[in-house]
C-alpha cells in the first residue's frame, strides 16, 4: 500500500486524530469527506442505521426454525429441517444451517431476533406489502418512505440517507427530499456538469427533480470520492499499519457483500450518512425452495456477519445497528411444488454492538392460524419506533403518524 493511500486509511479509521488532516493536499480531499461529519451532532448516542430489505418474502419459518414443534414438520414434510440440522438457539428454535455467522453473533449477544413481526389485516401482494413496510403505513400506504419522512424532518440533506442500489428505494423518498443513490462502483471518469444542478423557473416538476439530482451528485461525489480501501480481515491492520491491498485475484464479491463493503468504508471514514439502505432479492420461492433459500441465506449471512464483525473493530462502527426485514413470511403449509406461497408474519433481525441480543416478541402458534397464515405478535412499527428513537434519536410519533409502541430492551 502506498503511503498516500495508507494515510487516508489511517485518517479514516480514526487511528490518528484531526492533526493528520493538515498532512497534505490530498488529505484535504478526504477532509471534504470528513467535513460532512460536521453536520453530525457530537452526542455519542448518535448512531447509524443500516436497513436491509429482503425482496420477495423470506420464509421466516425456515430461517428461525421451530424445530421442536411437531406442527412444523407436519405442515411441510418435504421442506422442514430436521432437529439435528438446525443451528440451535434454544430447545425450541434454531437457525437455518446456512446461517453459521448469525449463530456466532447470537451467541456473542449481538443478534436480536424479533419474532412474529407483522401488521393488522396482512396483505399477500408483494408490492402492496412492501409499500406498507417501506411507508410504515399499513392502513393507507402513502407516497413517502418512513426514512424519507425522517430525512424531511431532519433537514433533508440527501447525503444523510444513502443507498448503493441502482434505483432509489421508496423507503428513502420523502415528501420534499430524497436520499441519495450512489453507484456501487466508483468510476466517476466523466466531469459532472454542475451547472445542470440549478432548477429553472417554470420547468415541469420531474425535470426540476432531474436537475436537483445533479446538485445531489455534486455533494455525494465530494463525500465518497477517495474512500479508503477495505482493510484485510483480522482487525489488526490499522494498528500494525500493514493493511494489505486486496489481491487482484480475489473472488468477486456478491452484490450484497459489495453494498455492505461500501457502507463499511463510509462508516469508517466518518461520513455524515445516518441511514444506509441495502437490499437482496430472490426470496420469492414458490417452488423448490429449500436449497435456493439456504443459498440466499448463506450469502446474506456471510455479508452481514463480515460487516457486523468489521464494525465491531472501530469506534464509529460500534455505533452501527443493522435491521433486516422482508415484506412477509410464507404460508405455514408447503405447496405441491416444494415451495411456499405468500404468508404473513415473520422474523426481523437486529444486529450490532448497540443491540442486546436474544429473542423478542412472542413466537406465533403454528396451529392457531388465520386462514393458514401466522398471526402476528409484534407490530413492525414497534421496531421502527425503537430504531427511530434509539438509533436516529428522533421522536417516532412524528414519523410514524403518532405511533408510540416500542420493543423494550432491544437496544443498549
Amino acid at each position: 500500500m502506498d503511503t498516500l493511500t495508507r494515510r487516508r486509511f489511517l485518517i479514516a479509521s480514526g487511528v490518528v486524530g484531526g492533526a493528520a488532516l493538515a498532512a497534505g493536499a490530498t488529505a484535504y480531499t478526504l477532509h471534504d469527506i470528513l467535513a460532512t461529519a460536521g453536520d453530525r451532532p457530537s452526542d455519542p448516542d448518535t448512531r447509524t442505521l443500516v436497513l436491509v430489505t429482503l425482496y420477495g418474502g423470506n420464509d421466516g419459518l425456515n430461517t428461525v426454525i421451530p424445530y421442536a414443534d411437531p406442527a412444523y414438520h407436519t405442515a411441510r414434510p418435504e421442506l422442514a429441517y430436521k432437529p439435528e440440522e438446525v443451528l440451535r438457539l434454544d430447545n425450541s428454535l434454531g437457525l437455518n444451517p446456512g446461517m453459521t455467522g448469525f449463530k456466532r453473533l447470537y451467541d456473542a449477544g449481538r443478534l436480536a431476533i424479533v419474532r412474529g413481526v407483522g401488521y393488522p389485516k396482512p396483505e399477500h401482494s408483494h408490492f402492496r406489502s412492501m409499500d406498507i413496510w417501506q411507508t410504515g403505513q399499513p392502513d393507507h400506504p402513502g407516497s413517502t418512505g418512513w426514512l424519507g419522512r425522517w430525512l424531511d424532518a431532519t433537514g433533508g440533506d440527501p447525503r444523510h440517507a444513502v443507498s448503493f442500489e441502482p434505483v432509489l428505494p421508496p423507503v428513502l423518498a420523502g415528501a420534499t427530499t430524497a436520499g441519495a443513490a450512489v453507484p456501487p462502483r466508483s468510476n466517476a471518469t466523466t466531469a459532472v456538469p454542475a451547472g445542470f444542478g440549478r432548477t429553472a423557473p417554470g420547468e415541469p416538476p420531474l425535470q426540476a427533480r432531474a436537475a436537483r439530482a445533479y446538485a445531489d451528485l455534486v455533494e455525494v461525489d465530494a463525500m465518497v470520492t477517495h474512500l479508503p480501501p477495505t482493510p484485510a480481515p483480522g482487525g489488526s491492520a490499522a494498528a500494525s499499519g500493514k493493511a494489505a491491498p486486496k489481491p487482484a485475484s480475489a473472488a468477486p464479491r456478491s452484490p450484497v457483500a459489495a453494498q455492505f463493503d461500501l457502507v463499511a468504508r463510509c462508516v469508517e471514514a466518518g461520513v455524515a450518512t445516518r441511514v444506509f439502505s441495502v437490499s437482496l432479492g430472490g426470496f420469492d420461492l414458490h417452488a423448490d425452495e429449500k436449497e435456493a433459500q439456504q443459498q440466499q441465506l448463506t450469502e446474506l449471512d456471510a455479508a452481514v456477519t463480515e460487516f457486523v464483525e468489521r464494525m465491531g473493530r472501530s469506534e464509529a462502527g460500534r455505533d452501527v445497528v443493522v435491521a433486516i426485514y422482508s415484506e412477509f413470511g410464507r404460508r405455514v403449509r408447503a405447496n405441491a411444488s416444494q415451495g411456499t406461497d405468500h404468508g404473513t408474519a415473520s422474523d426481523l433481525f437486529v444486529l450490532g454492538t448497540p443491540v442486546r441480543g436474544g429473542l423478542y416478541g412472542a413466537q406465533p402458534s403454528l396451529t392457531d392460524l388465520d386462514d393458514g397464515d401466522l398471526k402476528f405478535t409484534t407490530d413492525f412499527r414497534d421496531v421502527y419506533a425503537t430504531l427511530l428513537d434509539g438509533v436516529l434519536g428522533t421522536d417516532p410519533a412524528r414519523i410514524l403518524d403518532g405511533w408510540s409502541g416500542q420493543v423494550n430492551g432491544l437496544l443498549l
Binding site: 408483494h126 434505483v167 430524497a178 453507484p183
Partner: protein, 429 residues
C-alpha cells in the same frame, strides 16, 4: 405524442407529423402502412434449446454450459435493442416493450433466452388486439409459466403464484379479488406445465383439478380459459388497463376520473388495446401531460441511438458489452425486469447513481454518433448549435440553465451532444 408513442422520434418524423397533422399521424402510428423494412432487417434470432447447466461434474463443462446460456441471453437482448432502433412501425414495437413490463418475465429465472424471444414475439403479435386473446396466450406462454412456477402447479396442493399475479398485476389490480379467489384461481390453472426440451407448454389433464371452484362470485368447474373469461368480464379490467397504459404513455400523476371513464369505455367496446391507445393519444387530457413522464433507461438510450443514427448491432463487441453493462447499472435491461411488478416509473429513475452512468453513456453515444449527424450539427454556426441540438434530440426547448452549460461547449459538437443527452430536459418527456 411522438415521444410517447415511439422510442424517441427523429427530427424528420416530427416534421412529417407537423405536415400531415394529428389525425393522420395517429392513424399512421396505430395502423402503419406497408411492410416494416426495419423489422425485416432485424429478424428475431433462432435460439436453440440449451440443456440446463449441470450442478456437478467437470468444471470446464459447467463453465461452457453457463457461457452458452449467457451468450444466448446477450444475443437476444442486443437483438431487441437493435430492433427497437430499426423498426419503422414504432408504435407496435414500443407497445411490445410496454407489455414486457406488464407481463414482466425475467430471463434470470427462465434461463432460456429462446423462450424469452418466443414470449416477446407473442406480445408483438397480439399486443395491439383483443386483450382476451393475449391473456389466454400468455397463460400458455412457456416463459411465463416457468417464471411464475406454473409448471409445478398440481391439483394436490396448488401453487398460487400465477393465479395471484394474473389478478393483481395482469388483469384486475389489487383490491379487486379476495384471498379465496387466489386459491380457487390457482386450482383452475392446475395442469398446465411445460417441456423445456420442446420449448412448449403442455396441458396434463391428470394434474388438473377439474372440481367446482368459486371465483369472483361465479361457480363452475373452471379451467384456465374459464378463469380468464371471469377476469375479462370484470368491469374493473377496463379501468385497470387504462391506468396501466396511462402510467407509461401519459403521466405518473393520478388519472382523472372522467378521463379514466372515457378511455375505459373505448376499450370495453371490443376489449381492444389499439382502441384504448387511440383514445389515450387523442384525449384532450393527454396534451396536458407534457413533461410528466421520466424516460425509462431503455427509452432514453434507444431514443438517443435513433436520433444519433447508432445501431447496436453495428457497435464493436466491446461497445455492445458496455451498452448492456450501463443499462444494467441504470436498472433496466430488456428481458430482465427486477420482479413480476415490472420496472419502476417516475422519480425513482432520477438518482445520483443514474446520472453518473448517463454521463458516461452520453459520452459514449456522442462518440458513436453517425458521421452524418455530427457533420450536420457542425455545419451550424456555433451560436445556433443549442437550437439545432434541441431539434436533433426533439427537446421542446432548453431552459436558460441548460443553455448556459451548452454554450460553453458549443465549439465541440460531440461534447455538446453528450451534454444534451445528459440534460434534465432530455430526462423527461
Amino acid at each position: 405524442m411522438l415521444r410517447r408513442a415511439t422510442f424517441g422520434p427523429r427530427a424528420d418524423e416530427v416534421d412529417r407529423a407537423e405536415r400531415v397533422g394529428v389525425d393522420a399521424t395517429v392513424a399512421a402510428l396505430l395502423a402503419p402502412a406497408g411492410d416494416d423494412a426495419g423489422a425485416a432487417r432485424t429478424p428475431a434470432p433462432t435460439l436453440p434449446f440449451v440443456p440446463a447447466v449441470p450442478a456437478t461434474g467437470d468444471p470446464a463443462k459447467i463453465q461452457r454450459a453457463r457461457q452458452q446460456v449467457l451468450d444466448q441471453q446477450r444475443t437476444a437482448t442486443l437483438w431487441w435493442l437493435d430492433r427497437m432502433t430499426q423498426a419503422d412501425h414504432q408504435l407496435p414495437e414500443k407497445l411490445t416493450f410496454f407489455w414486457h413490463g406488464h407481463w414482466a418475465t425475467s430471463v434470470e429465472k427462465v434461463r432460456d433466452a429462446g423462450l424469452m424471444v418466443l414470449q416477446q414475439q407473442t406480445l408483438r403479435r397480439l399486443g395491439g388486439g383483443d386483450f382476451g386473446v393475449l391473456v389466454k396466450a400468455m397463460l400458455r406462454d412457456p416463459a411465463l409459466i416457468i417464471w411464475l412456477d406454473g409448471q409445478t402447479n398440481a391439483n394436490t396442493a396448488p401453487n398460487e403464484n400465477l393465479a395471484r399475479e394474473l389478478m393483481e398485476l395482469f388483469t384486475l389490480g389489487i383490491g379487486n379479488y379476495t384471498e379465496t379467489d387466489v386459491r380457487e384461481g390457482a386450482r383452475a390453472l392446475t395442469g398446465w406445465g411445460m417441456s423445456r426440451a420442446l420449448q412448449k407448454s403442455m396441458f396434463d389433464p391428470k394434474r388438473h383439478d377439474g372440481g367446482v371452484k368459486t371465483i369472483l362470485g361465479r361457480t363452475g368447474s373452471f379451467d384456465a380459459d374459464g378463469f380468464a373469461d371471469i377476469l375479462l368480464a370484470q368491469p374493473v379490467n377496463a379501468e385497470f388497463l387504462t391506468a396501466r397504459l396511462w402510467l407509461r404513455y401519459a403521466s405518473a400523476q393520478p388519472l382523472p376520473d372522467d378521463v379514466r371513464s372515457r378511455l375505459a369505455a373505448a376499450y370495453r367496446a371490443r376489449r381492444n388495446i389499439t382502441d384504448l391507445l387511440r383514445a389515450l393519444l387523442t384525449d384532450p387530457a393527454f396534451a396536458d401531460t407534457r413533461g410528466q413522464l421520466v424516460k425509462q433507461p431503455v427509452e432514453w438510450a434507444v431514443g438517443a441511438m435513433r436520433q444519433l443514427g447508432i445501431r447496436p448491432r453495428a457497435l464493436s463487441d466491446k461497445q455492445q458489452r458496455q451498452l448492456l453493462q450501463d443499462l444494467e447499472q441504470l436498472g433496466q435491461v430488456p428481458f430482465a425486469p427486477p420482479n413480476v411488478g415490472g420496472w419502476p416509473s417516475g422519480a425513482a429513475w432520477l438518482t445520483t447513481s443514474a446520472i453518473q452512468v448517463k454521463l458516461r453513456m452520453a459520452d459514449a453515444l456522442a462518440a458513436q454518433a453517425a458521421p452524418a449527424t455530427i457533420a450536420a450539427l457542425a455545419a451550424v454556426p456555433a451560436a445556433q448549435r443549442p437550437e439545432a441540438l434541441a431539434r436533433l434530440l426533439v427537446v421542446d426547448a432548453f431552459t436558460d440553465r441548460t443553455r448556459a452549460v451548452l454554450a460553453k461547449s458549443a465549439g465541440n459538437v460531440r461534447q455538446l451532444i453528450a451534454l444534451g443527452l445528459a440534460s434534465p430536459e432530455y430526462a423527461v418527456m
